[in-house]
């Protein structure tokens, strides 16, 4: 996949892209341009460009004008606008808007940038979940930090339930077995909210939150545990989710059915 980045202040994107590409599994080539219209257009005429990251506020012309010219030459190129402040996508004409993936705000958030790059590459972002011996989640080898232990435990429980919906009462009995009901309801809502925010921040909203139920959509989740459950691997007796007391039941299921 080939992308171009246009900004009259190039250092901004440079650092992020370097950092990103060190970790990323995408095979990516990229080219930087300052606001030299001729250089950009002649490059586009010669090379195939899958995505163009264009700064909006530049000196001689705007990112939108540049996008128009690029699309004339290469209509299949996807555009991502990069803006400092206050750019409204609504004001862009329909025919250009069709090719726009979205807008990134400066300073560039690496998670958003990653999301657009994966979108360009038509690849889904996957989450890797580790359960032996403790529960941890990674997106592109980046560890997900949960804002509270209980919200992490809640996610672990949803993960282990493997797509089955889960009720508030069920979660309360598992996560707060010793607390009075009213107090645990408050803690439940707190854990649910925190989990929701964490998944939103990481642009991986894989849980359906409704008032009565929670369900995990495990479509883009990879895990050795899921492989074992699906019969693709055998359970070798490793320590399983040792931080959570309720894992004992699932561990014994592993031993009995999947060894």
């Amino acid at each position: 996949m080939n992308i171009i980045i246009v900004d009259d202040e190039i250092e901004a994107l440079h650092t992020f892209l370097d950092e990103l590409l060190l970790e990323s599994k995408l095979s990516l080539t990229y080219q930087f341009f300052k606001n030299d219209m001729n250089a950009i257009l002649s490059y586009i005429k010669k090379e195939k460009v899958d995505g163009a990251f264009l700064d909006i506020n530049m000196h001689n012309f705007t990112g939108v004008e540049l996008a128009e010219k690029i699309l004339e030459i290469s209509p299949k190129t996807k555009i991502v606008f990069v803006t400092g402040f206050n750019f409204n996508l609504e004001q862009v004409e329909e025919r250009i808007k069709k090719s726009v993936l979205g807008v990134i705000e400066k300073p560039v958030d690496i998670i958003k940038l990653e999301r657009y790059l994966y979108q360009l590459a038509n690849q889904a972002i996957t989450m890797k979940v580790v359960v032996f011996p403790t529960f941890d989640c990674y997106i592109n080898d980046r560890l997900i930090v949960f804002s509270s232990q209980k919200s992490k435990e809640l996610f672990a429980y949803l993960f282990v339930r493997h797509g089955k919906s889960v009720t508030m009462e069920e979660v309360i009995t598992i996560l707060w077995p010793d607390k009075p009901l009213e107090k645990s309801k408050i803690l439940y809502r707190d854990a649910v909210w925190r989990l929701r925010q964490t998944l939103k921040e990481n642009e991986f909203e894989c849980v359906i939150f409704s008032r009565a139920l929670l369900v995990l959509d495990s479509t883009n989740i990879i895990s050795e545990y899921y492989d074992i459950i699906a019969g693709k691997k055998k359970y070798k007796g490793q320590a399983f989710l040792i931080s959570y007391e309720w894992s004992i039941y699932y561990e014994s299921a592993l031993k009995d059915k999947y060894s």
Partner: protein, 348 residues
Amino acid sequence: MNDTLIKLFRFLSNVFATYAITLALIHFNTANPRKIGKKTFIISVILLVISPVLALFKYGVYIQISFILVLCLFSSIHYGFSERLNLFWLFESMVIVLLTGMMLLDNLQLYFSDNFYTYGLEGMCAVSIIGFFISIYVNYVIQQSLLVKSNIINEEKLKKLQTSVLKNQINPHFIFNALANVKGTYAEDISKGNKSIDILSSYLRTYLSSDEIYIVPFDKEMEVIENYLAIINLKFNEPFNIIYNIDVSDFDIVFFGLQPFIENAIKYSNIRNKEDGQIVISTKEEDDAYVVEVSDNGEGFDTEEIGDNSYGIINTVERFKLLQNASVKIRSKKGEGCTITIRIPKKQ
């Protein structure tokens, strides 16, 4: 027997006519037909009770008619020459004067000659009632134009309030302190430093673009609060103990409506120095409203002492009232923490 029946009929029609006229007069004397002024209420009670009774007596009817005529006169002076002069009202008052004049004549003839049929009286009742409904419609039209006027005034008021919220929030101290904390975070860990820059720019972006935005979805307000908390937490090793008791989140709330209360709780509750100190943000849905609560179990304060320092709070309470017709209750006692309850009525 016949005689008594006729007399009874006349008496009842008289009561009815008086009642209709009184209602019309009450209507003319109040801006809001549903709100009846005390004075007018007392006068109308007197009229309703005394006047039909007066009509039973031979010359009592004169007193009754004069009473009503005087009221009409008073009404026309008060209403006609006040802020709103309109033609329908003038027509109405003329009709009422005519009405009462006819009633006078009618009654005179009734009491001096039993053979006269009371067409006039029934006619007057009918006109009076129709007139009453016409005046309600006219008043509705007046109310609509007043509403437009007050909307314009409200909008100006709102703009003023909004500007001061912004001025208050882009507090230079806050920004420079935050920048200093960001710099400090880099000393720990580069990715943490990068993250804190993202948080600070998200915070700034929100404030700088909030000019024309008055109401937002609850999720968006929570973003503001979480950003704010993230910046505050940069200073500390352990974050503030906040509990999100969020039961419902698909409703709208005043932009920067919740944040000033959180800011106050952070600044004044001193929960860091209390064991089990916490701030709880709760939401719940009731039949007719969404209720949002911010409560802490910190030091609390004497609610009588809310003075000039709490301009931000007064401003916020005003905006809730103007934008969402929402009420804000602040309950606090020294040593017993503080609870803010915001009731946002559901739109019909």
